[in-house]
């Protein structure tokens, strides 16, 4: 069975719903990843050796937890987090349920990206600010976050693209979205039209995210 245009038209409502489910999942996960991952990224950086809030215990603990989550393959995380999902959203299927695992996966991912964006900053700039009498909060807000701004924006782009991929995987456990559509139609029913459509949609989404991400990265960088 090849590509059938009429079949595609027929399934537009399904595709439409799947698309918005995917958007919903990645939007929630991105917000959670930023809200929780950014502070963790800051913590990982500023508690490092030789930095202004050096604290080995905090650094090691946070680093261990982050690595632990990151070492679990997403497909296993999806299953392992079912109790947490149940507790948080009272269901284990649908996009809201998938968002829980997606968020948990995205938090440490984004935190590490933030940490490495900070590492790109010349230590001299941080020292000069310390010499000028900056408070720790000023160092975080006016030096770290500002200097790493474009690195963080490209980190968000990267996180979003990973989330698109992960969200498709969530379809395997009934998470809804484009991945779900591909599994239900493309895999179980050998529906090539849907298969091709989902692949095209995913490609377009990823390309758009990358283009916009790069654009913003460039705009915010004053170097």
């Amino acid at each position: 069975m090849g590509f059938d245009f009429n079949h595609l038209i027929e399934l537009i409502p399904d595709i439409n719903q799947a698309f918005f489910e995917t958007m919903y999942m990645i939007a929630i996960s991105l917000v959670v990843a930023i809200v929780i991952g950014l502070p963790i990224g800051i913590l990982l950086y500023v508690t490092d050796k030789g930095l202004f809030l050096e604290n080995r215990w905090v650094k090691n603990t946070a680093g261990f937890v982050v690595n632990m989550v990151r070492s679990v393959p997403f497909i296993i995380l999806l299953v392992a987090l079912i109790p947490l999902t149940e507790f948080l959203v009272h269901t284990t299927i649908g996009p809201a349920a998938a968002s829980v695992s997606l968020s948990v996966a995205a938090i440490p991912f984004f935190a590490r990206i933030v940490e490495s964006a900070f590492r790109e900053i010349d230590k001299g700039v941080i020292e000069a600010a310390i010499a000028a009498g900056a408070t720790p909060w000023m160092l975080i807000k006016d030096v770290l976050l500002l200097e790493a701004r474009s690195g963080i924006v490209s980190g968000i782009t990267l996180t979003l693209i990973s989330l698109v991929g992960f969200s498709a995987m969530a379809g395997v456990v009934g998470g809804g979205g484009i991945g779900d559509l591909a599994i239900r139609f493309g895999y179980y029913r050998y529906d090539n039209t849907i298969m091709i459509a989902t692949v095209v949609i995913l490609i377009v989404i990823v390309q758009l995210i990358q283009i916009f991400g790069d654009l913003i990265t460039k705009v915010v960088d004053k170097r």
């Binding site: 000069a128 009498g133 500002l146 170097r223």
Partner: protein, 337 residues
């Protein structure tokens, strides 16, 4: 005033410990421009960075304006740093902030009320001559302009001390001169004590009152710049001085000379040439000037002449004695042949 007492800084690295600063004691007086010279790795930056505790000393104390900084931590140390400005070889401005924002940053650190910030930033911009670059990002500035922003940022909170870590080493000679002039002006007009480290003796000669020479973490010589130039004690100091005041004679000239070659140095306002001509009149010697110049160190002249004296060795010795008695220093570079 800065008092450094028995200061040591030992860096612990994987391959063992490195002595960055080794038991240094120094006093920098109020209103002075103090230069610290040394080759790469001598420990100049380590010492300077200890002064505002960017580097915590392993032992010893630092007192700035009567406050023992080594006893301070956290918020108290931060407040003390507001009164100690610092500028760097690579400027280290916040690249994502405009010139205005970079300077305002220091004011915010001092919790300056928002309505006072604008006037103060503009005053500083005026002082460093960058009024027209107010809203530009550092990437669009030249090295000299970036250093001016660095200076403005360091001066925002009316510090008593300005620390300069190779502040002109990344700049060309003309820009270096203009930055040094600005530092001199700041020192005079605002009565800010300046400690600067450099590997260029020229910088020290140009603006410093007193200086120290560092080697392997230790201060091996210290004194007024004038005395150090006039009478260097260590080989290293002599080497550094040679880089700005050199009296090397070409071999071709040396080979032609028959007489005793002497270096005569006149300090201060002693009229050197008058003494020499008196000597030539009184004794049976003939003199030939081979080299000579009058260096002005902090506006005080230091005359150095290299000359060939020809005559009986007894007369020559008497002549040299005569000059020495007239408050000049004589050094025989080569005996007559």
């Amino acid at each position: 005033m800065i008092k450094i007492h028995n200061l040591s800084k030992i860096y612990k690295t994987k391959s063992g410990s490195v002595k960055g600063v080794d038991d240094v004691s120094l006093t920098v007086h109020e209103g002075e421009i103090y230069g610290i010279v040394g080759y790469s790795g001598a420990g100049k930056s380590s010492l300077l960075r200890c002064i505002n505790l960017l580097e915590r000393p392993t032992s010893g104390t630092i007192t700035v304006d009567g406050i023992d900084l080594t006893s301070l931590k956290g918020e108290k140390l931060r407040l003390a740093r507001l009164r100690i400005g610092m500028i760097f070889q690579h400027f280290y401005l916040i690249s994502q902030k405009t010139v205005y924002e970079n300077i305002a940053f220091s004011l915010k650190a001092a919790k300056t009320p928002a309505n006072l910030i604008k006037a103060r930033v503009e005053e500083l911009l005026e002082m460093v001559g960058l009024t027209d670059k107010r809203d530009v990002y550092p990437a669009q500035l030249s090295g000299g302009q970036k250093q001016r922003v660095g200076i403005a940022r360091a001066l925002t909170n009316n510090p008593t001390v300005l620390l300069c870590d190779e502040a002109t080493s990344a700049l060309d000679p003309t820009t270096t001169k203009s930055i040094l002039d600005l530092l001199k002006r700041i020192n005079k007009e605002l009565n800010i004590t300046i400690v600067l480290i450099t590997h260029e003796m020229k910088v020290v000669k140009e603006i410093c009152n007193r200086m120290a020479i560092m080697q392997e973490g230790k201060v091996i010589e210290e004194g007024t710049v004038y005395d150090t130039f006039a009478d260097p004690q260590t080989e290293l100091t002599k080497e550094f001085i040679k880089s700005v005041v050199s009296f090397e004679l070409p071999d071709a000239i040396l080979n032609k000379c028959q007489g005793t070659i002497v270096k005569v140095m006149f300090k201060g306002d002693v009229a050197g040439e008058g003494i020499v001509s008196d000597m030539l009149k009184q004794f049976e010697v003939k003199g030939n000037f081979l080299h000579g110049s009058i260096e002005y160190i902090q506006e005080a002249p230091l005359g150095i002449f290299v000359m060939e004296l020809m005559g009986e060795s007894e007369e020559t010795n008497k002549a040299l004695q005569f000059i020495e008695n007239r408050s000049a220093q004589v050094e025989v570079l080569r005996d007559g042949v």
